[in-house]
């Protein structure tokens, strides 16, 4: 546990000593804020009850684009700089390295989510929103965002080139997102399979305020699977 914390802490240090985290968080919040402004405008115009349903789906979609640049450095740079050799010869297990990196990216995600609580506060100040569904939405955001980060960690383990890692992660995210669309144009059984695999379908309930164990399990197992794969990829680096 201590090892994971030490690695995550150093990684956070690296995030905030370079402009990457600041820039990513700022741009993310500017876009999300703009969407929020549009959403609020719509709610005021049509008198719909205040909710963050549309906001959440946009914010999750934005992570599809913002997760890769935040995760690309994590393991790729360690491999390029030779510091991975240092980590792997320290009394640290491979999975502790992977989890440390993952938790660092998760902290950046969490920070962004905490800042985005202001949307809920604004709605609360000027309307009477239902807070329960919002909490579910934020949980969904954390789970979906976390899964996207874990995909980024895996991509970063596979190469020592940051750009390649980012592109790999982005393509993987896109494929997962598109799977649901592929499901809609196929026969019923394939529809179900694709819908189960696709990212999009599993987020919808959260935005509506429903926490379905099916969806929670989907995201948690996606994270577990990708992080396990990342650990194995790291292990194979030793054999080369």
């Amino acid at each position: 546990m201590q090892n994971i914390f030490v690695i995550a802490k150093r990684e956070l240090y690296a995030y905030f000593v370079s402009p990457i985290a600041y820039v990513a968080i700022a741009v993310y919040l500017i876009i999300a804020g703009f969407i929020f402004w549009l959403e609020v405008g719509g709610m005021a115009q049509y008198g719909t009850p205040p909710s963050l349903e549309g906001q959440f789906s946009t914010m999750a979609f934005l992570w599809l684009i913002f997760a890769p640049p935040l995760t690309m450095r994590l393991l790729a740079e360690e491999q390029r700089m030779g510091t991975l050799e240092l980590l792997l010869t320290s009394p640290v297990r491979d999975w502790e390295v992977v989890l440390g990196k993952f938790f660092a990216s998760l902290s950046v995600l969490l920070l962004t989510i905490v800042i985005s609580f202001m949307y809920a506060l604004v709605l609360k100040a000027y309307g009477n929103p239902d807070l329960g569904p919002m909490a579910a939405g934020y949980l969904g955001l954390l789970l979906a965002g976390g899964a996207l980060m874990s995909i980024g960690v895996l991509a970063s383990a596979m190469t020592q080139n940051q750009v390649v890692a980012a592109v790999l992660a982005f393509v993987a995210n896109l494929v997962l997102w598109i799977l649901s669309a592929a499901g809609q144009s196929a026969s019923s059984l394939t529809t179900q399979v694709f819908n189960q695999l696709g990212f999009f379908e599993h987020t919808l309930n959260f935005w509506r305020g429903i926490i379905d164990t099916n969806d929670v399990i989907y995201f948690v197992s996606l994270m577990a699977l990708t992080l396990f794969a990342a650990t194995r990829v790291l292990e194979t680096r030793r054999w080369r």
Binding site: Q2, N3, R10, Y13, V17, L88, R238
Partner: protein, 307 residues
């Protein structure tokens, strides 16, 4: 402290390290010598627990580097060939991170001590990315020392440094002997003569020699050789020297310089001097030629070519 038995590493059909065995006692400084690509780095990586061996085993302080990897790694300070540094961190933060990773209890004191030993306190607050090559190398060493490990594995610790820095790092390594067991690789031969109590020579993955630098020289030296610098007619001198009893051959090496090979165990210096002076030549210099480690090394690593 370091036990290596039949250590082998192959990458597909290519054998990088071939059945290497050796022992290093506690407190020893052992030099690991070999041409580039001989398998030094691969061997050290296996010892450090980075690469698993294909065959054979290695243990550090009694812990197997593969099956008890974490225990073995806790006792090692490792400086890889490319010094692994995070350029965005300050020296002190980096060392603190390494100390935390190795579960050092009093990190502040450990970091301070490592910086003192390697003389980098004045750069503690600087970003590693802004340091000169010499300082980076020392930060790398400080990193290997910060948890006070039993065993230090240093892969080419003086590579890329200027002569003054090389001397500093050598002094540093020498100063660490006794408390730490050190295995250091290099392809700079005088370095080994200066700091190591024992030398392992590796060539094409195989251990070809293991001895003290001095014994290696004695063992390989077929004949004693004496160098002379003389003024005057060369051809006659050569003949005169060759006529001295016990002389095996006389070679002109340079303008006015000669090397005389003498059967081992005989000291013919007095006779040679007498011959030169009596013959009317001017004797400028007369000294035994020791076999340098370079020659030993070349001889060992060329044996296959010669044979």
């Amino acid at each position: 402290m370091i036990d290596v038995e039949g250590l082998t590493k192959s990458y597909g059909p290519r054998v990088a390290v071939d059945d290497v065995s050796f022992h290093v006692e506690k407190g020893e400084i052992v030099g690991f010598l070999g041409p580039n690509g001989a398998g030094k780095t691969t061997t050290m990586r296996m010892l450090a627990g980075y690469l698993p061996p294909t065959e054979g085993r290695a243990s550090i302080a009694g812990f197997d580097t593969f099956s008890q990897s974490l225990d073995a790694r806790r006792r090692i300070g490792y400086l890889p060939e490319t010094v692994p540094l995070y350029p965005e961190m300050t020296v002190a933060d980096y060392l603190d991170f390494m100390a935390a990773l190795r579960h050092v209890t009093n990190r502040k004191a450990a970091v301070q001590h490592a910086m003192e030993v390697t003389h980098i306190q004045d750069r503690a607050r600087m970003n590693i990315g802004k340091l000169s090559k010499g300082y980076r190398q020392r930060v790398g060493l400080a990193q290997a020392l910060v948890h006070d490990p039993d065993v230090l594995i240093l892969d080419e610790p003086t590579i890329g440094l200027d002569p003054r820095q090389i001397i500093e790092v050598r002094e540093l390594i020498k100063g660490l002997a006794g408390q730490h067991t050190i295995l250091t690789s290099t392809h700079i031969l005088p370095e080994v003569e200066q700091i190591c109590s024992r030398v392992l020579i590796i060539h094409r993955g195989k251990l070809v020699a293991e001895d003290t630098p001095k014994n290696l020289g004695a063992r390989l030296r077929g004949a004693e050789r004496i160098g002379l610098q003389v003024t005057g007619d060369g051809a006659k001198l050569q003949a005169a020297l060759a006529a001295v009893p016990g002389v095996q051959s006389v070679q002109a090496t340079n303008e006015g310089r000669y090397e005389v090979a003498v059967a081992p165990g005989q000291d013919l210096r007095a006779q040679l001097a007498e011959t030169v002076v009596k013959g009317g030549w001017g004797l400028l210099e007369l000294a035994p030629v020791g076999m340098s480690l370079e020659e030993i090394f070349l001889q060992l690593t060329n044996e296959e070519v010669v044979a």
